[in-house]
């Protein structure tokens, strides 16, 4: 997710358009920003184009905050957050509670037996499976499955979903403007506590998701191998969805403990964009979220990544067409050089006339596709500038890479001309305007910048920094970071 730089473009637009237009786009003045006593940040933007509202709840927590051996916790918890609460999803809380505890005990014993591997007692496993199936059947009598989604869907909500990243977890939905109270009611209760119904079934779903994204999909497999090579010690080396072996062993208490430490109001941001009255909406937020106590944030220590002397390569043995990823280590936002990388990304791959597609897809006919992306896999720690490429039929990754190197060398050796620089900046501007067209785009951007950068206004100040970037800055940054020392290359050949 590379939204933060999109946020910086309002000002740039002001530079390239009339002053009247710039005034129209001063959205920062229209944003109502509050912090509740418990530390919850609330951002509200009134927009009255249609009677709809985008609601985003971002927790500054992700896969990077997991303990070793517990990878996949953040993402699995995100799935489980849809399983209901104490009051939503139950027909009889007391009966459910008794059964759930039996299910979890039996499930744990089953896991323990299975994890003994060849020494496992097969009869015991079968017996435990039968017991578990029986308990689950009983439990179904007292629970109401998928009730949160049912409530939201029937109210007319769309885009009901959540996403887990290395740095952040975002829950979002768009509601008809008259029904946002339902969102407040549900989200506040699940911020406080969630009931882990259907835990073992959902763990299987996550393992299927992993297969679909990482094992059946060569691009997913390559990305995973690339990141685990790029970072030796830092948690960014681990896949967000988790290693299959870790996920298969996760227990309910792992998720609950993770949630208690980090799903707290002082680690969360709510962004609301759409047809609302800011004052009334804030009152509603206070009513529902105000009583949730703040907590001391506990995250495991995250080791620094040592500086690597040399280059790292991996060739993945996967039956698929060739593709390549090339990564360079760099600092994250708001480091001054990160802004420059956003522009380099634009110069290299935004628009049909950008250097990578123009030269390698069109002129040299060496690539099927090639693009650059700044800021992966996250933005809370030092991250990567990555080039993704797919060679044409009959061409190799090595040939494609030689051309990519040539283009990167040009960035170091020759200053970019004004016209190309202007196009690169303008492309970022226009993307920003397009993003603002939807309530969802705007809400996501505000929530992300507040949660990750720590200030939603980053969206509106960053632009001045972009404006100041000169051709010499681009050359300097390219010379400093786009170097073979520390470079990471992963291929399917």
């Amino acid at each position: 997710m590379n939204l933060r730089h999109l946020g910086s473009l309002v000002l740039l637009l002001a530079l390239t358009t009339s002053s009247a237009l710039a005034q129209d786009l001063s959205l920062d003045k229209r944003i109502h920003s509050f912090e509740l006593k418990n530390g919850l940040k609330v951002l509200i933007l009134e927009r009255h184009i249609s009677p709809t509202v985008a609601l985003y709840l971002a927790y500054r927590v992700g896969a990077v905050d997991e303990q070793e051996g517990k990878t996949g916790t953040a993402h699995f918890l995100e799935h489980m957050m849809f399983k209901g609460t104490k009051t939503i999803g139950t027909r009889n809380q007391a009966k459910e509670e008794r059964l759930l505890n039996k299910i979890l005990k039996t499930g744990k014993r089953l896991d323990q037996e299975i994890n003994r591997g060849e020494k496992a007692d097969k009869e015991k496993i079968e017996a435990l499976k039968r017991t578990l199936a029986h308990l689950k059947k009983e439990h179904r009598k007292w629970m109401i499955s998928n009730e949160i989604d049912r409530l939201y869907t029937e109210a007319g909500a769309i885009n009901i979903n959540a996403s887990t990243g290395q740095d952040i977890t975002i829950y979002h939905a768009s509601f008809p403007a008259n029904k946002i109270e339902l969102w407040m009611r549900v989200e506040s209760e699940r911020m406080k506590e969630v009931v882990l119904r259907e835990f073992y079934e959902e763990r299987n779903v996550v393992l299927e998701e992993r297969k679909q994204r990482k094992e059946a999909n060569p691009q997913g497999a390559l990305y995973e191998a690339f990141m685990s090579l790029a970072f030796q010690r830092h948690h960014y080396r681990r896949p967000i969805i988790g290693w299959a072996e870790d996920v298969a062993r996760l227990q309910p208490e792992d998720l609950i403990s993770f949630k208690r430490k980090l799903y707290v109001p002082n680690n969360a941001t709510i962004a609301i964009v759409g047809d609302v009255d800011a004052k009334k909406t804030l009152k509603m937020v206070k009513t529902y979220f105000g009583a949730i106590p703040r907590a001391y944030l506990q995250t495991p220590p995250i080791p620094d990544e040592p500086v690597l002397k040399g280059e790292k390569r991996i060739s993945l043995d996967v039956k698929a067409s060739p593709q390549i990823m090339i990564g360079y280590h760099k600092p994250p936002a708001p480091h001054p050089d990160d802004y420059v990388f956003d522009l380099i990304e634009s110069i290299l791959s935004r628009g049909r006339s950008a250097r990578l597609p123009k030269r390698l897809v069109d002129e040299k006919a060496i690539a099927l596709s090639v693009e650059a992306q700044n800021g992966l896999p996250g933005s809370r720690f030092n991250n990567l500038f990555i080039i993704f490429g797919r060679p044409r039929d009959g061409k190799t990754n090595a040939e494609l890479m030689a051309y990519i190197d040539e283009i990167l060398e040009e960035l170091k050796n020759r200053e970019i001309d004004d016209q190309e620089l202007e196009a690169a900046k303008n492309n970022i501007v226009a993307d920003f305007v397009r993003l603002q067209e939807s309530n969802e785009g705007m809400a996501r951007m505000l929530a992300y910048n507040q949660a990750i950068i720590g200030d939603y206004r980053y969206t509106f100040t960053y632009l001045g920094r972009i404006k100041e970037i000169t051709p010499a800055d681009i050359r300097r940054v390219a010379q400093k970071y786009l170097i073979k020392n520390g470079r990471v290359i992963a291929t399917i050949d």
Partner: protein
């Protein structure tokens, strides 16, 4: 100590799962009892006007952001590919965009558009091409000038055609890398085999396409009578209409063609169709003929599809295959209504060893819904469809494109304005009736992509109800 350990664990779990925090003073009110204010919903009126050449323009002015969208729906989709030249419609659109126009080369156009950060891109579908143009308001005149030259006087540079052909062939070669994408393509080909809708570009069909074919396709499909226009954003009516009038006023030489598309003649194979591929997961897709969009059954079938598998977590397929059985991450249903035919499908991506289990679960759901559907489930689905309707009117571009789409396909003038009323009229018996009418077991195609292990599970498959 072991026993104690167990008790501690049980206690811990109890605490973790059901503890009531001391600060929780206010019991949560039942979400069903929340009182909502009425929704104020009056979509801004879209202006519908005709240019002198007969082109219809849908227009909505909105100045919140300094951006203009122009969308053109053109009867130039892939269904019009001549036999043996599948891929022609797509290549025509691509090379119009990249191969230069008037006095400009394609590269010059790219540089000019990128400098203005404007987009001109075609999206090629089966029955139409949607050209989307967007630009900052200050650039709209210059961007439209480029686009209208692309539309009327494309150069179709042979070098750019070669690039487009190579890229398309490269993508085709890589199709099987992504099993689910590959499976849906093969499903479409098999379901519609022998019909226009089942044709797909292949390396051989692409090799048959010459520049002359592109010139001819452009001549036959890109002319005013084949085009519907939608404009929205920060532009005054007078300004945009004067631009459009200059483009479309002069009569182009082409004459309208009889472009009605016959409904496909579907003849489904009796046995499940399997494509063996060494992949960690099997993809199972089913297909049934379903009501066309203009059929009286359309609204009831929308509700049925929602209940079966497109209506979120609680829809029957998702609930059973994913939530209850944990078999699949991606599962559900889809309904594609066209003017004179429709397709209803279901899908599940699951482990090879679970392929038949996932399929038979879905098959049972399709049969059971004909018997056990209740009023509450129907009303909930209707509520969801009706309440979310407002999201089709979220942005000015969405609003004008919807109106343009309805006009382009010849749907009744009140198609969208009567939509909510028509959904409200759907009753339990109507949904049950369409379920029985369309979800007929012997009119279902079953397609599996997966390992041999997955396919062999279907060898003894007999339809649950073989009675016609």
């Amino acid at each position: 100590m072991v026993g104690m350990g167990k008790h501690i664990l049980a206690l811990l779990l109890t605490t973790l799962l059901f503890s009531t925090p001391s600060w929780a003073t206010n019991p949560w009110k039942d979400p069903e009892r929340i009182k909502y204010p009425p929704l104020r919903f009056s979509p801004p009126p879209v202006k519908k006007e005709k240019l002198p050449t007969g082109i219809t323009v849908f227009f909505l002015e909105n100045h919140e952001l300094p951006i203009v969208h122009i969308s053109l729906l053109i009867r130039a989709g892939s269904i019009y590919d001549p036999p043996g030249k599948e891929g022609l419609a797509e290549l025509t659109a691509q090379v119009m965009r990249t191969g230069g126009a008037g006095k400009w080369t394609g590269d010059e156009i790219d540089v000019r558009l990128d400098r203005m950060a404007a987009h001109i891109e075609p999206i090629v579908r089966d029955e139409f091409v949607l050209w989307r143009i967007n630009a900052l308001s200050k650039d709209v005149k210059e961007v439209w000038e480029i686009f209208q030259t692309i539309l009327r006087n494309p150069v179709l540079d042979p070098r750019k055609l070669k690039t487009a052909l190579d890229l398309k062939k490269g993508e085709l070669k890589r199709l099987s890398d992504i099993p689910d994408k590959f499976a849906f393509r093969e499903f479409q080909r098999l379901y519609f085999r022998g019909n226009l809708q089942g044709r797909q570009p292949t390396e051989a069909s692409l090799d048959n396409i010459s520049r002359e074919d592109i010139v001819e396709f452009h001549r036959r499909h890109y002319f005013p009578e084949n085009i519907t226009v939608a404009v929205s954003g920060a532009v005054r009516r007078e300004e945009i209409f004067s631009l459009l009038t200059v483009t479309f006023t002069e009569a182009w030489s082409n004459q309208p063609l009889p472009l009605a598309i016959s409904p496909p003649n579907i003849s489904l194979p009796d046995k499940p169709q399997c494509l063996i591929k060494d992949t960690p997961q099997a993809v199972i897709i089913t297909g049934h003929p379903a009501p066309p969009r203009l059929s009286p059954d359309y609204y009831a079938f929308e509700v049925l599809d929602f209940i079966l598998g497109s209506g979120g977590f609680r829809s029957r397929i998702f609930q059973e295959v994913r939530t209850n059985q944990g078999l699949s991450y991606a599962t559900g249903s889809f309904y594609r209504p066209k003017n004179n035919y429709g397709l209803f499908g279901t899908y599940a991506i699951t482990q090879n060893k679970s392929a038949f289990l996932a399929f038979s679960t879905i098959e049972r759901i399709l049969l059971n819904i004909q018997k056990d559907l209740g009023n509450k489930e129907v009303e909930r689905a209707k509520n969801a469809i009706i309440h979310s309707f407002v999201f089709d009117y979220s942005t000015p571009r969405q609003i004008v494109e919807r109106e343009a789409e309805a006009f382009f396909f010849g749907w009744p003038d009140d198609f969208w304005s009567s939509y909510i009323r028509r959904v409200k009229e759907v009753s339990l018996s109507m949904v049950t009736t369409v379920a029985r009418k369309y979800l007929v077991p012997h009119q279902m195609m079953v397609f599996i992509l997966g390992k041999e292990e997955a396919c062999t599970q279907f060898q003894k498959y007999e339809r649950m109800d073989r009675k016609p």
